[in-house]
């Protein structure tokens, strides 16, 4: 399992949320619907009291009630949950993309912590920690027996404090590195020129996504002397993130107009989110790559570009998470927060992708057609997921069996990324405009 620092405990990877205002939560608490709620809470308190007095072993009732809160929220849908104060702090760090630490991506191997990569400009990078290094001890204590989360929690701490890591490298004596923790920015946008075509990958929609994208475009523009031939935007395995980031990212490609609309209970409180006018990439061909793990905010961007005819969406049908969660702080965050599904969202053409996902304009598989099932888990497979109210969407999925999927030729190495190669090929072929026009009809 690969974790990215900062580790976010039990917080689910798939998310799309808007930070709720504190007012909203306060307002909600002030107007309870007394009678039934009161009676049901009585029942709950009664059961808890009996458990406390009569259960076969003594139980800590704080934990018991937290389990109850989780049980209550899990009965709603897979994306609603209680975020305890620790996880809430980490979640805030994750969404800001900024945290206090030493700045490295780590994973676990053979019980040791292995460095995937140090982050540019971080204490770890400056000290000379390299990809592939093994961390065997933290402050002189072995990491063996620690879970990755526990190890990461030990490495992290207050800004200005130091931590000593014992690093083992193959064919070298273990060496101690003492690093001073400070604020580190974790970039979620990477880019490069691939076979002459600018390629941009967004791994997550945190607050760094939009500035990261504009920065990447500036740099790519500089590298090709302001003559961008087209862009591949890779949203594969991107689990989503912040709603407002998906609007900002879409604004790079769209000149005003709707990106997405959200609706609350019974379709009420419809809210439309528009792209900012003055698109950055005017007239430049775009191929968006998606796969089964592209979820929520990724699906908003892909859906807007597809519905507005702004680019070609390529890859495989996306995850299908068409709901928005509000992160509602409880008592100002002291009690953690409530992550609650409060809205559904709709693409500019008015469709909900809940449970169905975005079908790409061109189906391209990264795996050869070997008869094996390479499909991953999607929203519709999750227990208790909310259903799409629009039944016609389900029929559309049925028809999917008739779609033609472009498989890599026999002998193609999966690691060579067939989907990306096909995206680059389309942009270089000179047929892009023709294909886009065809897809509009």
């Amino acid at each position: 399992m690969k974790y990215i620092l900062p580790v976010v405990g039990t917080v689910a990877a798939v998310g799309l949320f808007a930070f709720s205002t504190a007012n909203q939560a306060a307002l909600a608490v002030e107007k309870p619907s007394y009678s039934d709620t009161f009676e049901q809470l009585d029942l709950f308190a009664d059961v808890m009291a009996r458990v406390r007095s009569d259960y076969v072993v003594e139980v800590e009732d704080g934990e018991l009630i937290e389990d109850a809160i989780n049980g209550m929220l899990q009965s709603l849908d897979p994306h609603s949950s209680y975020v305890n104060p620790n996880d809430f702090r980490r979640l805030q760090e994750q969404t800001s993309g900024r945290y206090v630490g030493v700045g490295m991506e780590v994973t676990q191997e053979d019980g040791y912590v292995k460095v995937v990569a140090p982050i540019d400009g971080s204490p770890a990078k400056e000290a000379g920690i390299k990809s592939g290094d093994y961390i065997t001890e933290i402050n002189g204590k072995t990491v063996l027996g620690l879970s990755l989360t526990e190890a990461v929690n030990t490495i992290r701490g207050e800004a200005g404090e130091s931590v000593t890591l014992t690093i083992a490298r193959i064919d070298e004596e273990p060496q101690d590195f003492t690093l001073v923790r400070r604020e580190v920015d974790r970039e979620v946008v990477t880019y490069e020129i691939k076979d002459g075509v600018p390629y941009i990958r967004i791994s997550q929609f945190n607050e760094k996504a939009s500035p990261g994208l504009t920065g990447a475009i500036d740099e790519l523009n500089r590298q090709v002397d302001g003559k961008l031939p087209g862009v591949v935007l890779d949203l594969r395995t991107n689990p989503g993130g912040l709603l407002d980031q998906s609007i900002k990212i879409s604004s790079v490609f769209l000149d005003g107009g709707e990106v997405v609309s959200t609706r609350g209970r019974d379709g009420a409180n419809e809210q439309s989110y528009n792209a900012e006018p003055g698109q950055l990439l005017k007239g430049i061909p775009v191929v968006v790559l998606i796969d089964e793990a592209s979820a929520s905010a990724s699906e908003i961007v892909a859906g807007a570009i597809q519905d507005r005819g702004r680019g070609v969406v390529m890859g495989m049908t996306s995850f299908g998470k068409g709901s928005v969660q509000s992160l509602i702080p409880l008592r100002g965050g002291r009690d953690g927060a409530l992550r609650l599904t409060t809205q559904r969202y709709y693409t500019p053409s008015g469709r909900s992708i809940q449970g169905t996902g975005i079908d790409p304009d061109l189906f391209v598989s990264s795996y050869p057609d070997d008869g094996e099932d390479h499909t991953r888990m999607t929203e519709a497979d999750l227990p208790n997921s909310i259903i799409n109210e629009d039944a016609s969407n389900e029929e559309a999925t049925e028809e999917e069996s008739q779609t033609i999927i472009d498989y890599p030729p026999e002998g193609f190495v999966v690691a060579d990324d067939y989907q990306l190669q096909q995206a680059i090929a389309l942009l270089k072929s000179g047929n892009y405009n023709q294909r886009l026009a065809e897809l509009q009809n």
Binding site: Q40, L41, R50, V51, D54, V56, G62, D67, D335
Partner: protein, 422 residues
């Protein structure tokens, strides 16, 4: 319980501890936000049900909240009553044969007895019908009469009119097997189980000409039921002494259950058949007879549910709380929690596959209560008896082995080996 509104009012009879009060307030806050803000309308009781299940499922696999509708259904099921005549039947020579007539049933009251045949229903012969079809004609609405033609061997057929009534089903089946008594106890969830078993033993004695040379009690797949029934059934075969003890959170809460003095059939050898599906009350019976040296247990290691649940009805027709309140211990003081009863002889019903497949038992359930005894308890493949290759696939190898044991000196050998261990 006076604690009802404890979350909201500081002044209650039994004031909750501070941390739990805060957590209760948190739960109440979240509940209100969900009611107001969730993307779909939600019922408060659904949310509280989810909360109760979330909390109770974390305790152990047997604690749960029972919603009102399910609770009332369960109470009916525990009584196992259904409309009919109160007879257990089999098909023989094209007719319905009465295997057993329940003494409080309407058929028994109308003079129908075990061994009688039914040849026609409402004047129509049942020759040529399948058992299901024949029984269909007998069943009907409570209070409606049905006329059946009854043939008692060596007598003239006669028409008998029986008024259908709510009848309780037996939780046991009995028959003569190779000259031995064979009793299947399907469930302990029947408060007449002990008297049904006593009656079945009497019938077996009659059928076997006065004495039962050996008894096989089949508890395979029996998931348990009422604790009191397991104690009284054990008591039939034991002359006083402890059957089990039950302990709550504090050791001082120990309750001991004893058999009544005077056992029913003291000289009759007993073999108990068990399987990984034998749980709870079934394990109490097998464990007490094994511990007290009263029976040989054969089959596979049992489920290992060593805890007792109390079903606590919640006031105001709010369903019930099913909660683990005690653990129980066999007469030798062992807890079977997570470990089960190890048979004296391991006998497999299934063919030898070169290994023992893992079966679903208590110790594979998430959040199962632990046993402080962590010594080895797994079955060892090499010790298991498998059906020989030539053994017919449609026959019961475990039952076959039980018969062999009772008919040979193997029974005494196994009994001696049992006491060597003590």
């Amino acid at each position: 319980m006076s604690l009802g509104a404890g979350w909201a009012y500081a002044e209650t009879a039994k004031k909750p501890d501070q941390p739990s009060y805060e957590k209760m307030q948190l739960l109440a806050d979240i509940l209100t936000i969900v009611e107001n803000e969730y993307v779909e309308p939600v019922e408060t009781h659904t949310l509280i049900e989810g909360a109760l299940n979330g909390a109770l499922a974390k305790l152990d696999p047997h604690s749960s909240y029972v919603p009102p509708t399910v609770f009332s259904e369960q109470r009916v099921a525990a009584r196992r009553e259904y409309g009919g005549l109160g007879i257990e039947v089999i098909m023989e020579d094209g007719y319905i044969k009465i295997n057993y007539a329940l003494e409080e049933g309407p058929a028994y009251a109308a003079g129908i007895r075990s061994g009688d045949f039914i040849t026609a229903v409402e004047g129509e012969t049942i020759l040529g019908l399948e058992l299901d079809e024949a029984v269909e004609g007998i069943r009907g609405l409570e209070g409606d009469p049905v006329t059946v033609t009854v043939l008692t061997p060596d007598q003239e057929p006669r028409d008998v009119t029986v008024v259908r009534a709510q009848v309780r089903g037996r939780a046991i089946r009995h028959r003569v097997e190779e000259g031995l008594g064979y009793v299947v106890i399907e469930s302990f969830n029947n408060d007449k189980l002990t008297s049904d078993l006593e009656r079945a033993l009497e019938l077996l004695q009659e059928e076997l000409g006065g004495e039962i040379p050996g008894l096989i009690i089949d508890l395979r797949g029996n998931r348990g039921g009422l604790l009191t029934q397991s104690v009284s059934v054990s008591g039939l075969f034991l002359d006083g002494g402890e059957v089990l003890s039950v302990r709550g959170r504090e050791d001082v809460d120990t309750e001991r259950y004893h058999a009544e003095s005077g056992e029913l059939l003291p000289d009759m050898p007993i073999v108990v058949l068990v399987s990984p599906g034998s749980a709870s009350a079934a394990e109490i019976l097998a464990g007490s007879l094994q511990d007290r040296g009263r029976a040989i247990v054969i089959g596979r290691r049992t489920f290992g549910k060593g805890s007792v649940q109390s079903v606590i009805p919640l006031p105001g027709n709010k369903g019930a709380l099913r909660m683990t309140t005690q653990r129980y211990y066999t007469p030798s003081g062992k807890s079977i929690q997570g470990r089960g009863i190890m048979p004296d002889l391991l006998v497999s019903a299934l063919d030898d596959e070169g290994e023992l497949r893992r079966r679903l038992r208590e110790d594979s359930l998430p959040n199962a209560l632990r046993n402080s005894d962590t010594s080895d308890y797994e079955e060892i493949y090499e010790n298991v008896m498998f059906p020989p290759e030539e053994f017919p696939i449609d026959e019961d190898f475990q039952l076959h082995t039980a018969v062999e044991i009772l008919e040979s000196k193997r029974y005494q050998e196994l009994l001696d080996a049992q006491s060597d261990l003590d």
